[in-house]
Amino acid sequence: MGALGRIWLFLVLVFLYLPIVIMALMAFNASPFYALPMTFTTKWFVDLSGNAKLIAAGRNSVLIALVTAIVATAIGTMAALALHRRQFRGRTLLRVLLLPPIAIPWLIIGTAMLVFFYWTGIGRGLHAMILGHVALALPYVVLVVGAGVDSLRPDLEDAAMSLGSSPSDAFFRITMPLLAPSIIAAALFAFAVSLDQFVVSYFLAMPGVSTLPVEIYSAIRKGFTPEINAISTILLVASMVIVLGFARLSRIGAGR
């Protein structure tokens, strides 16, 4: 059973990675029609630098992901501290309210945002996408930071205060350094969630203001060249690097 199992796992990994690898290889194929056998070129990556539309979308993607990571991590950490450190009525309800953004299909959330933002005049565009991404990333931040808070002994701050630290001094000298790996992990996670988010961005994008996944989607539907493979490869590598960073950090966080 052991050998069979390992063969099965290998096949599963092939299934998961083969298409991605082929897609990435095609980014280096000279033929604009993906003709085989392939001829190596970096032309498509060079072409990207002249594609103003994709560059603008890429800049938007990174900007939105950065702002999302900062905002979601800041307010999510605050919420995690309240939800995991303090006793108050309605705490369970508030924790349950974190689930809908994760559990409800993005299609429904995305269209609901479109309806509401359009109706109230919040409108579409960068700010709307940031608001949407922050909402989607928040529950993950609260989960990751909350787990970090739970792993801290609550009497550490008491100990600091008994030694002469004021509550805020105790928080910044003791709790924050101990929580730092969780907070950084949560920020990376939020960044990755935002960078990969397509559905919500798709409904909140405006002509001229979109993100990379939205541009890639419309390119796929309208007809595309290996340029799309090139930008997709870049996006893929970027998010995998971020997630590997997250995996490392959250393991360090758990080891504490």
Binding site: G2, L4, G5, W8, L9, V12, F15, L16, P19, I20, I22, M23, Y34, A35, L36, A74, G76, M78, A79, A82, R86, Q87, F88, L94, L97, L98, P100, I104, P105, W106, L107, I108, I109, T111, A112, M113, V115, F116, L131, V134, A135, L138, D158, L195, D196, F198, V199, F203, P213, I216, Y217, I220, R221, N229, S232, L236, S239, M240, V243, L244
Partner: protein, 309 residues
């Protein structure tokens, strides 16, 4: 008084409920700080999730979107769409069978993979394979679906490979088909199934398996009577995590399904992006949300066998 046989201590232990230590940290003046910590996060969720859902619910009962001075006219007609537009029943069925196929195949592939991961690997190898399995899960879903067009399209890897063997082969037409959508969706959601199954298999105490073996059970019997029932909660939560987003998917059917890729997801998308019939789109979304909630409710009631601690 506790009964006393002359040896037991005649100790009257206070029967008062113990006050949790955590409560003792609470001071009454604390609530403004608690509120301040929570307000930004829940404010964002309110504006970006809860109010939108409420407003969308409101829209779903309107005859037409109230823009450009059009009057508010309430109607239930959008919820009767399935009666008035019979083709929607076909569409809904396609979405559901897409969900069933994807979920079923994910279990068939994912459960053995999770078992193999938990039982046939160890140490660094296991860690590496585990990360490799969940890594795609956080990479861009759109890009991964796109990658299948490279594999399945006429002139793609499979087509070209077969044509090299059999030059006279007619066009295969792999892309833009129902199976293409299923393959793309399985690829997208399989990691969920492996992850949830793996976690519940890991929670099975090795001693239970050893106990079963010591009682004479053969591997298949152990699998059927011990491992499978205990892994069931993982399979269930994996199934929910897959089925729910799949019936709401629209990007995968569009890219891999082409003309046959009309699903509930794409119909809803059309109402918002092409048709501008927002009330109908809202009603369809809420019908789907209701299905999702019923499903989640049903699964959360499934009793979970607890592996012994």
């Amino acid at each position: 008084m506790p009964s006393d046989d002359g040896l037991g201590r005649a100790r009257s232990v206070a029967s008062r409920p113990r006050v949790p230590v955590a409560m003792q940290r609470q001071t009454r003046r604390d609530w403004p700080a608690t509120l301040g910590l929570l307000a930004p996060a829940y404010g964002v969720l309110l504006i970006a999730v809860f109010l939108p859902l409420a407003v969308m619910a409101f829209f779903s009962f309107l005859k037409q979107a109230p823009f450009g001075g059009r009057p508010l006219v309430f109607t239930l007609e959008h919820y009767l769409a399935f009666v008035n537009r019979p083709y929607l029943i076909d569409v809904a069925w396609r979405s559901i069978s897409l969900g069933l196929w994807t979920t079923g195949l994910s279990i068939a592939i994912g459960l053995p993979a999770a078992l193999a991961l938990a039982r046939a690997t160890r140490g660094r190898a296991r860690e590496t394979i585990f990360i490799l399995i969940i890594l795609p899960f956080w990479s861009n879903g759109l890009v991964r679906v796109f990658s299948w067009t490279m594999v399945l399209r006429d002139g793609g890897i499979i087509d070209a490979g077969l044509r090299w063997l059999l030059p006279s082969l007619p066009p295969l037409g792999l892309l833009y088909s129902f199976p293409a959508m299923v393959v793309g969706l399985v690829h997208a959601y399989l990691p969920y199934m492996i992850l949830t199954c793996y976690l519940s298999i890991l929670a099975i105490d090795d001693k239970i398996v050893e106990a079963a073996a010591s009682l004479g059970a053969r591997s298949f019997t152990i699998f059927r009577t011990i491992v499978l029932p205990l892994a069931l909660p993982g399979v269930m939560s994996g199934a929910v995590l897959i089925f729910v987003p799949v019936i709401g998917s629209f990007m995968e059917p569009r890219i891999l399904g082409g003309k046959v890729g009309v699903t509930m997801g794409t119909v809803i998308e059309d109402q918002f992006v092409q048709g501008f019939n927002w009330p109908l789109g809202s009603a369809l979304s809420f019908t789907m949300l209701a299905v999702v909630l019923v499903l989640l409710g049903a699964f959360s009631r499934v009793p979970r066998p607890r592996p012994t601690a």
